[in-house]
Amino acid sequence: MGTNLKGQIVMKNLVLKGALAASAFVLLANAASAATLDDVKKKGFLQCGVNTGLPGFASPNDKGEWSGFDVDYCRAVAAAVFGDATKVKFTPLSAKDRLPALQSGEIDVLIRNTTWTLSRDTQGFDFTGVNYYDGQGFMINSKKLSGINSALQLSGASVCVQAGTTTELNLADYFKANKMEYNPVVFEKVEEVNAAYDSGRCDAYTTDQSGLYAYRLALTAPDDHIVLPEIISKEPLGPVVRQGDPQWADIIRWTHYAMLTAEELGITQANVDEVKNGDNPEIKRVLGQEANTKLGTDLGLTNDWVVNIIKAVGNYGEVFEKNLGSGSPLKIARGINAQWSKGGLQYAMPIR
């Protein structure tokens, strides 16, 4: 029995080693990197993984310039590290490729509306916070399916969904829990999902509600489509880094808190230089103007890191309104993404 078991283990090891050798190149690139901050500084730019094209969060214009909520977070990190928000390169990633790309070291940080889940957190990744609280919903063509006003009426429908997402799992759970049937039509890239839904291949489209509002704008006849009221899941979206580099995780985490804190204190892109030299001690501390401050250098950055962030992209509220809210075609309300003091969930840890 003992030898048999040992034999099995050896066998398993052999198979595993063979498999490892075969696909080792995935991890070879990662051979000598532990301190991401040093690598990024040496490279001279931040490699940031973003969505392949989700209006409001990350999408390139016809000149190839990226814009969006997540894109501004990438720029904020670049501004914190280099003091220069242009020192960032974007890697557009499908849902399926995003985590392997981070794992292999191809990107330094993933800011691509990725849902924070326990299993992802324990698979070698660290989530550094929630920059957008979202929830999954459904969109239908109300002109074609005029009698439907609830997701519970979707039994028998074909549903378009992106592969490898928590969305796909929530969809399966929701229909199973409500004893409904459905036919999943699964694509790897969002563009393919959009095209399939727009051409009528599916009756319903499911993804995070923010995404539904964004995609609706790109449809041939946006006004024909409605987002159903049900929210079937919690989707806390946030930046992800590789596990095992606490310093780098801290930088990403505190970049988010810095933007939130700035909004709380009324520090904006326009007034940052002015209030920096004012006499509010809290603002001075956050902006690194306190005498002998070590807040920034302890993080591995310079003491004016928050100034750089706010100058480059603005505070959380500004970034939100510009990309998703009143300043964008999406017109998404702040809702649960408002500051904690205004009834929302966004709550920054104190910078001191």
Binding site: V26, L28, N30, Q123, L169, A172, V185, G244
Partner: protein, 398 residues
Amino acid sequence: MASQDITPVGKDSAKVSLLNDPKVRGYIFQAVAVLAIAGLGYWIVDNTIANLQRARLATGFGFLDGRSGFDISSSPFLAYSSDSTYLKALMVGFLNTLTVAFAGIITATILGFIIGIGRLSHNWLIRKLCTVYVEVFRNIPPLLVIFFWYLGVLSVLPQARQSITLPFNMYLNNRGFFFPAPVFGDGAWLAGVGLIAGIVGALLVRRWAHKRQMATGQQFPVGLTALALIVGFPLLALAIKGFPLSFDYPVLGAFNLRGGSQIGPEFMSLFLALSFYTAAFIAEIVRAGIRGVGKGQSEASHALGLRAGPTTRLVVVPQAMRIIIPPLTSQYLNLTKNSSLAVAIGYPDLVAVGGTILNQTGRSIEVVAIFMIVYLSLSVLTSLFMNWFNAKMALVER
């Protein structure tokens, strides 16, 4: 002692330095090469394991027993739900790959042979049409051919409510092709027995006809007889049991046609694209094979009084097959591997399902290893079969 002094001349000449012996040198070089490769392999594995451990990534294939949690749109052979394991999901993907590869290989072969022979036709129009076909499909990337079928042809079909109605309660819309599913009642097993009896009967007739032709030179319409036997026996069996067969017809539901059987547009476009694409290459291989048979062969055949059809079928093609089969094998392998492009149009093949699993579990190394092992095994099996077939078709000297 004395005997050592009298060394024969031949042995003396072999006593050159070992390093200058070409045979020994060959062994040394090979040993060095093997060691170098083994060393490189060890370094890669060791480095990977070290990296995995540093990244705190779990390894092993145990995750395959976990609940998948996602649904798959097309699983014709296995009962699959979101409660099934990852392993079962992979099996579903694998069977879908096999299905599309198998169907594609058969169609591509038939189409390729017709077009390849058509390119050598004496009819100007047929010849030119076949040339245009080959040049068009051979010079377009397979992914574009797939998109052509999926976005250009199948997705512009009407919606479910305006389905195109075909004879026998069949429907075509942008959700796929719907046809009645047979429902077998009590006693339908006899039809299965009839089918087997028909096939056995057809084989016997063929053997008898071959023997008779060898002996007397008289021909017998084997094909028609076989068809009659294979169709007739099951029909007869059904008639005896009073036709215990009904059909489940597709009818319009709230969203789509329900009931009956269905072939999704994803499968159809992948299948059509792979068949049409690969057929262009097979056509060229067939043309080359036929051209490779000496002109004297068909001249001799004509001189014996055989017409064009039988000359092609009985004299030219059997000889051409010896040239055709080896390159045909690599086309079959290409088709199987190209089927992984399915991921672009959402057909749940092995790569699409595996990719989802990879994303849900984070086990990239294991999943990629499974991909490689499966495609490698499929390719090796196809090659083995084609080698066997090639050996069977090879010139047997009498």
